[in-house]
């Protein structure tokens, strides 16, 4: 492979990893907990900003050409972790305002408003966020100590991104399979029934919102450490719809579906349009791309609202433990020794 191709593919790998992380977070909020999180991209932007200002030195560095807060120049893993923490921390007040007493479609609208307003604040706040120009020259993590060539560093970062995805997946999967995740799904499916069984509806929603926010923040941190720049215009509210398209097309509530959705929508679809020759005026292809995303939503909601990979009906043993794939398969094959052990999802 030529160096150029290697750069291209490794960059796509990082983007895919970042999008998969973000899609899982949104899947937790939307798929598992049933929250129409229209401000999701805000958590990613907040995480990205956090990672940026913690990796950058004091703002007087680089000739003091950009304004921002903090500037701690922290060593590598700390800015990323902080990005996740801030993603969760920012989602809690937003969740407290919107999730407690509003009915679900009001929540959606309030969250959309939050997202739009946040962009306008960030763009206008020159001292805090350096305005529309955003931040640049964010140092790449470990670049000095690793001493890799530029291409190898790209591959290193891609591998690192996938490793983060793997670790997050283990935690996230445990969480959604645990009674906690079951309770979240119960709230999604019938909040009154869940409440009558003593589940704390608002608390569970807020928790799903915060964990999803942390995952978004982490993905934003990874992205900003990789591209080395941050600007409010990269996280406008329509970007949430791209991730939502990922979930709806891949399969709401299905983690594998989220991966497939990422490979289809932001990767395959967005990269394919890159090769369309620039027809018409500037920005025409972009506009057509958004039209296509809108049509994709409509087509999928019409023909396959459950997505390519629908949410799997989870099976549990009589004592409430998740049934292993093996038992589920055996049952499907008809040799159902374990049949009597199998229950449908018990009321959480």
């Amino acid at each position: 492979m030529s160096t150029g191709t290697q750069f291209y593919i490794s960059t796509l790998c990082v983007y895919a990893g970042v999008d998969i992380l973000a899609a899982w977070g949104l899947n937790l909020q939307f798929g598992t907990a049933g929250l129409l999180s229209f401000c999701y991209i805000l958590f990613q932007a907040a995480g990205a900003y956090t990672a940026a200002v913690l990796s950058l030195g004091p703002q007087s560095g680089n000739g003091g050409f950009q304004h921002y807060i903090v500037g701690l120049n922290l060593p590598f893993p700390l800015p990323l972790l902080a990005a996740g923490v801030v993603g969760a921390a920012i989602s809690i007040p937003i969740g407290l305002i919107t999730l407690r007493r509003l009915r679900s479609d009001y929540q959606a609208i309030a969250l959309l408003v939050v997202s739009i307003i946040a962009t306008s604040v960030a763009t206008n706040q020159a001292h805090l966020f350096n305005g529309a120009a955003g931040l640049a020259l964010i140092p790449p993590p470990l670049a000095n100590s690793l001493n890799l060539s530029a291409v190898n560093y790209q591959w290193f970062f891609a591998a690192f991104t996938f490793a983060v995805c793997g670790v997050v997946y283990v935690v996230y999967r445990r969480l959604t399979r645990a009674p906690l995740g079951r309770a979240m799904r119960a709230v999604r499916d019938n909040e009154h029934a869940a409440a009558s069984l003593g589940k704390n509806v608002a608390g569970l929603r807020l928790l799903a919102f915060a964990i999803g926010g942390a995952m978004a923040g982490l993905s934003g941190g990874l992205l900003v450490e990789f591209i080395g720049a941050w600007a409010p215009s990269a996280w406008l509210y329509p970007e949430t719809f791209v991730l939502l398209a990922v979930i709806i097309i891949g399969g709401t509530g299905n983690d594998l579906g989220a991966i497939v959705g990422v490979l289809l929508v932001p990767i395959a679809f967005a990269e394919a349009t890159r090769y369309i020759p620039a027809i018409g005026r500037a920005g025409l292809v972009d506009a057509l791309q958004w039209i296509a995303i809108g049509l994709l939503f409509l087509l999928f909601l019409w023909f396959r609202p459950q997505g390519i990979f629908p949410e799997r009906k989870r099976k549990y043993l009589a004592d409430g433990r998740p049934a292993s794939l093996l038992i589920s398969f055996r049952r499907r094959l008809g040799r159902s020794a374990a049949d009597s052990e199998l229950n449908r999802e018990p009321a959480a």
Partner: protein
């Protein structure tokens, strides 16, 4: 004092446009329970249709009427051709919100693809200014305020004193009960979309007249304030939306004069957050409960 006068003037004009838009938004939501996030884009489309006609040399007032008619027709078509089939197919609240978002994306970007990412403006005749006390208005601003006041009175009259209005309020309160009382709710819903669309079109054209220059995204950006006004008054309540529009129109413009024009929408947001915290059901409404979608 020197700032307060003009900013109250601007505030009244903004409140008028906002009232047109928010009342249209809220009437449709109240009757059908479908949260139409494509509302801003339909407004924009109406404004751009008016621009096309205006470019052909037609007076802006006729363009306003054409914009309103387009708004009504396209809202009716949106409901009949897209939303109702999806509801019949079993798409529920969340799905419907996403459907309207998708329709909005398609409309806005179609305008962007055809018109291009440039600024547009109407050809307006020169207007003399009016002085009312310390307030100064252009002829257009007076016309916009007048139009909004007339529309609000008409909406009030229709909702309060006509059979149609009673039927609409009944459908809004309890669709299935209204139906079993012999109200043809399907027709009422069509009419609600037509009324809402008319006001949406009027709001789109007046918004573009008032902002002087506009892009394909201008109307959609205004949706935040529309929604804030509707939520402020309690979504689905026409009088609440009027009040919300007045409050938000005045506060955004006055804060623009005294704080920073860039934070106009932020003020709207702060008010919205306070209302959501204190009275999530809005100023005038009782607690909004989850209802079924009406077709």
């Amino acid at each position: 004092m020197s700032l307060l006068g003009p900013s109250i003037g601007f505030g009244l004009v903004t409140a008028s446009i906002l009232a047109l838009a928010a009342v249209g938004f809220t009437i449709q939501f109240g009757v059908t329970n479908v949260l139409n996030l494509a509302y801003g884009e339909v407004m924009g489309a109406a404004g751009f249709i008016a621009l096309l006609v205006n470019k052909a040399g037609v007076s802006i007032w006729i363009c306003l009427v054409i914009g309103a008619m387009f708004g009504a027709a396209s809202s009716y078509a949106l409901n009949r051709a897209i939303l109702v089939p999806y509801i019949r197919r079993g798409t529920r609240l969340f799905g419907m919100v996403i459907v309207t978002v998708a329709v909005g994306l398609v409309i806005e970007n179609t305008i962007l693809a055809i018109g291009g990412p440039t600024f547009f403006s109407y050809k307006l005749p020169h207007q003399s200014t009016f002085h009312v006390g310390s307030l100064i208005f252009t002829g257009f601003q007076v016309a916009i305020i007048g139009l909004a006041v007339v529309c609000m009175i008409v909406v009030h009259g229709v909702l309060r004193y006509t059979k149609l209005g009673i039927a609409m309020r009944a459908t809004s309160a309890e669709n299935s009960l209204a139906r079993s009382c012999g109200i043809r709710t399907e027709r009422i819903i069509d009419i609600a979309w037509l009324i809402s669309g008319t006001m949406c079109g009027l709001a789109g054209v007046t918004l573009f007249i008032n902002t002087a220059t506009f892009t394909s995204a201008t109307a959609n950006e205004f949706l935040v304030v529309i929604v804030a006004a509707a939520v402020l008054g309690g979504v689905g309540h026409a009088y609440g939306a009027m009040l919300g529009a007045l409050v938000l129109g005045l506060t955004t413009e006055i804060s623009a004069a005294y704080i920073d024009p860039a934070y106009k929408n932020v003020t709207a947001f702060v008010i919205l957050v306070i209302v959501l915290l204190v009275r999530p059901q809005g100023i005038l409404a009782e607690i909004a409960t989850q209802r079924e979608l009406a077709t």
